[in-house]
Symmetry: C2
Subunit: 657 residues, 2 copies
């Protein structure tokens, strides 16, 4: 009997629940992304890799995947949720994932969200078909996080009815721009808009960057960013504009327009508010990155867990058998809490995608609900930060857990690690994003979001904050019921009581947030320097955002379990959720101890229960990664696909023979 | 006035102290490893990279560096400490570092340590000169950590007076062997030795693997491990032996020999003890890896700190100036505690190298002191684990702290990260090594070290342990004095009192270790399954090793400060040491709270003091990384060498123009 025979399979309902609302999209991806064309490959040179990814991109363009996110009248499918889920399924090569995101998410998405009919009709069909490969040229070398201060200029010349696009110096060059170094023909360029009447802040324009032959357009200079840690199948580049003229109609004019005579108009009066409204329409990018991080994390865990289930090392005394790695407590502790958190984040992501999708579908009416939009943006920022840091940490752990085999490219972990490493940075640096989350909580979204600038927070918070309000993000009534049924604080209640767990996370969030608001208000009212006030509290700010997001993630997990119709799957998920909660509590138990939410005795029993849960879930570990539904072709790693067993049985294929 | 003008330079004494006993070696490395030949380069193909590294290796062979570690009678310099320090200086390309380690540390080192005069005279001069490039073929695919169970066989044939070396199956192939895929001509092969009289455990033999033309020798099969996460300038390969015959004299026979008639003899009776004695002579490899991790960590911190000192993002309200990254508290918290720990580990490493060097120099007399040798091995294991995990974590943090720029290969962080990633695995998996440390503490080194097998620990610990004994590793009398002068526990003593800090670390170590011993004894005496007992306690075992090692590291730091003759440098180091201690306490404060070593109030003030120390050290951050004495040519990263300032001033060199 082999290990495979005794391994418990996962309850089918578990896979159904994980696949969720866009199951159809996931199934299509599993069917389509296979064969020689999509096989993960290692050790390609940069040019070869770019070529391969561009060929893959063409294949994707021939499927529904490229159309999901666009309006039906231009050949799209008007299914934003599907576009995000499809993106996260591209784990066979994360360079392809990012390239898809650049072409159809960022470039196409910006045209759709910031442009008007004239742009949609003219470009979207060619964007979808990949006839027009494009770039999203926002980031500049000098301004990555602080987009509002970028310095590329687009000055309107009424004499010719053109914009003149200029890069004033090297700090203002566009940098890290995907599709720029090789394939892009056009770019959505973010620039400070100027008319004879004045400055109007950041707007986006369509600027052709290469002609039909692929040569740079006059006045456009393009350089290659050169080799990166990973994602070398993506042609990131730099762009400089030397008085490049584009027609007046090149302005993506949904939120601001310039008349032929140079008169500026906008449906939104405040420059600041307009800027954040424009940025807000691009929230899908962040949600996609969070999903992509999840996809990569699942693949890494599947590889490491499968290997740990067959790899043996050191004798078990008295048996003559060597011990399977996953039977070691230290190994369980490395992999299983990370697996539990991956489940939790998966359900939080599913909820976020649904929220995005529903907001998008109800466009017209709902987008006027500014508060709801700000909430979505804050949640996207928070999940993006949590999911990408979790990916970095977990894939690193998986690499180490696979030892020397994990260091070989053929086993995929190096590439997954290197490719996802920048996820914590792009689409918003995580540290900046968490500050955005905290600011949203402090201002309760009633205040216009104002400066992305985290310093603005100190100025804000003083007056506005009325005390932390816990707003349920999922399964409101269920969670209310669980929380109110929970026994009180103290040593007596059951660590496994879901209501107690929810209450604990909620209480931490309230306490951290109330403390932060008091601190900022006190400092703010004493006339202290706004920067100093903010800066002194910065670690408190980040802690508040984390506490909030962990509560949101837990609620999503609880809501998902509630949706599950199968008793066996529910039972398994309940244990996974317990492990998520208790390992999170363990990690932050210093806080709970300092704030007398846990006694020392109880904190120690949290650690014991984490150990116990690891042992209890160990027999289900492989089923839990199998339920992600990653085809073997995506994992590709020989160590996860039988090489270790074959070697142990002396049947290993002998490479090099 | 530019930033450079106001930046405080480091006190010269600081650099002298850091350079330490082998200053001469560091200075030589700084002078020698420069110019086009040693310039860090990015984006090479694997073959090109290997070629470049091999050419560099030839240049190194022409210097003293290749000779440091060998006996003078064979052309060496008999300076083991110098060989380790030279290794850690090779940060210009970590592939070169590892290749140097393979040739002169592992291959040459094994011939020297395990061979006798006949091997030394015949091979060492050609090893030093690189005429004979070689491999250290220990690890097998099936047995990485559990070396004692490797399965390559060397059976003696008295008829021909030869050993027949055989790879029984693919699990026993030699794997990840540096120098094997391309350059190696000979290998030190570890194999189970068999004579007609019986089995004698693992021994090492010299086996030619390629002829003068570079073709594999008859019966030797060689395969390339293929692309890895990093270190692609090192030609790691796999080796299979199909009844390869080598003469009787090929056995490295210092610890075990076979007479022409097949009679086995050894100065050490026990197979087990012989095995660990043989392994023990290779301790230098682990110490070198710890040093190499330190070198890479310093380079990464130098890059990230210098960039953080000039990079600006977001306005400081009311000033029109953007804030320098290193002025943000969150940024200080990311980099400065890591910098403080890097200092601490540096001094612990210096002490470890000195201990190795002195033991080696006093050979003959001292190597019979088995207890001292076991202590050295345990300390090497512990420092290797701490230093390499610290490297992984810190280089990752540095990459993120540099944002998109940190993801570009030209800024070196990606390569430093990818190259060092396997340091936590090779020369002993860190988790296994920490178990070795704990076992040494429990058995108080009086017991023969026995199985490397961590399970052995459970069987051992029950009877032997008499209570944790804190043995000072450095500056004994000074530390005793500080500890005994410290005020008692409780809220009143000064967090900055060095004696209190030392006492806190010491107390934690004693408590964790005593608790572990009690737990194992209790379980052991109840007749429970040895594996279960060990496994249930595994996280406790790892915690004990960590607590011990942090105390050892702190003592080394305190001893180094005591050696410092300059008041200004001492003062600065005192603050760095405080930050190391308090950030370590903060990180583990849950333990201190759970065990009532800190009250909640005091734990919170530890966090506040970490913040305060970060702010206080911030103006010295660049001086502290400059004092490492990394030449600009080694850092190489444009972001650390003025590119950012030039861009801000609009004078950036324009790539691609």
């Amino acid at each position: 009997m082999t290990e495979a025979d005794v391994r418990p399979a996962y309850p089918p309902e578990l896979r159904t629940l994980l696949d969720g609302r866009w199951r159809r999209v996931r199934e299509l991806a599993r069917e389509h992304l296979r064969g020689e064309r999509f096989r993960p490959v290692a050790g390609l040179g940069a040019e070869e890799h770019r070529e391969r990814v561009f060929e893959q991109l063409k294949e994707i363009a021939a499927t529904d995947m490229s159309a999901y996110g666009f309006a039906t009248e231009y050949g799209g499918e008007d299914d934003v949720g599907a576009s995000v889920v499809a993106f996260e399924s591209l784990v066979c090569d994360l360079s392809l994932m990012v390239k898809v995101g650049v072409q159809w998410g960022l470039f196409g998405g910006a045209i759709q969200a910031l442009g008007t009919d004239r742009h949609h009709a003219a470009y979207l069909p060619r964007v979808i078909s990949l006839e027009l490969p494009g770039c999203f040229a926002m980031t500049e070398t000098g301004h990555g996080s602080d987009v509002q201060r970028l310095r590329t200029r687009a000055a309107y010349d009424p004499a010719t009815e053109e914009f003149v696009v200029t890069t004033p110096d090297d700090a203002a060059r566009k940098d890290y721009i995907g599709n720029a170094a090789r394939d892009g023909r056009m770019a959505v360029v973010f620039a400070q808009l100027a008319t004879p009447g004045g400055e109007h802040g950041v707007h986006a324009l369509l600027v052709p960057i290469r002609d039909a032959d692929g040569s740079p357009m006059p006045g456009v200079r393009i350089a290659d960013c050169g080799p990166k840690a990973g994602l070398n199948g993506v042609d990131n580049g730099r762009l400089w504009f030397d008085s490049v003229r584009v027609p007046r109609e090149a302005l993506l004019n949904r939120y601001g327009d310039v008349a032929p005579d140079g008169t500026y108009s906008s449906p939104i009066d405040s420059d600041n508010r307009r800027f954040f409204t424009m940025l807000g329409t691009l929230v899908r990018g962040r949600i996609s990155v969070a999903g992509g991080a999840g996809g990569a994390t699942k693949a890494a865990l599947a590889i490491a867990v499968k290997y740990a289930g067959v790899r043996r090392q050191f004798d078990r005394p008295g048996t003559g058998e060597e011990v399977v790695l996953l039977d070691y407590r230290a190994h369980q502790r490395r992999l299983l809490p990370a697996l539990a958190r991956t489940y939790a984040l998966h359900f939080a992501q599913e909820e976020l995608v649904t929220a995005l999708h529903e907001r998008h579908s109800g466009e017209g009416e709902r987008t006027r609900d500014e508060r709801g939009q700000r909430e979505l943006e804050a949640r996207a920022a928070g999940i993006k930060a949590l999911a990408t840091w979790h990916a970095t940490r977990t894939i690193q752990t998986c690499r180490e857990a696979c030892g020397g085999a994990g260091y070989l490219q053929e086993n995929r972990l190096p590439q997954l690690k290197a490719d996802t490493d920048v996820f914590t940075t792009f689409e918003g640096d995580n540290t900046v994003l968490l500050q955005l989350v905290a600011k949203g909580l402090l201002t309760d979204y009633r205040q216009e979001f104002g400066d992305l600038d985290p310093l603005g927070m100190a100025r804000f918070a003083a007056g506005q904050f009325l005390g932390a309000v816990i707003e349920r993000t999922a399964a409101r009534s269920l969670i209310e019921r669980l929380v109110s049924a929970a026994p009180g604080r103290g040593d007596t209640s059951d660590l496994y009581d879901r209501g107690w767990q929810l209450g604990l996370f909620e209480d931490r969030e309230k306490h951290v947030l109330d403390g932060l608001a008091r601190r900022l208000r006190r400092a703010g009212s004493s006339g202290a320097d706004a920067f100093e006030v903010f800066n002194e509290a910065q670690d408190h700010v980040l802690a508040a955002a984390r506490a909030h997001m962990e509560r949101v993630v837990l609620e999503a997990f609880v809501a998902a379990i509630d949706r599950c119709g199968d008793a066996e799957a529910r039972d398994l998920l309940d244990r996974v959720c317990d492990l998520f909660v208790l390992s999170a509590v363990e990690e932050d138990r210093a806080w709970f101890l300092e704030h007398e939410r846990l006694t020392a005795t109880r904190a120690k029993s949290v650690t014991q229960e984490v150990n116990r849960l690891c042992a209890r879930l160990r027999p289900h570990a492989e089923a839990l990664v199998d339920a992600f539904g990653m085809p073997d072709e995506w994992l590709a790693a020989p160590i996860a696909l039988g090489a270790e067993e074959r070697r142990r049985q002396g049947r290993g294929a002998a490479p090099g023979r």
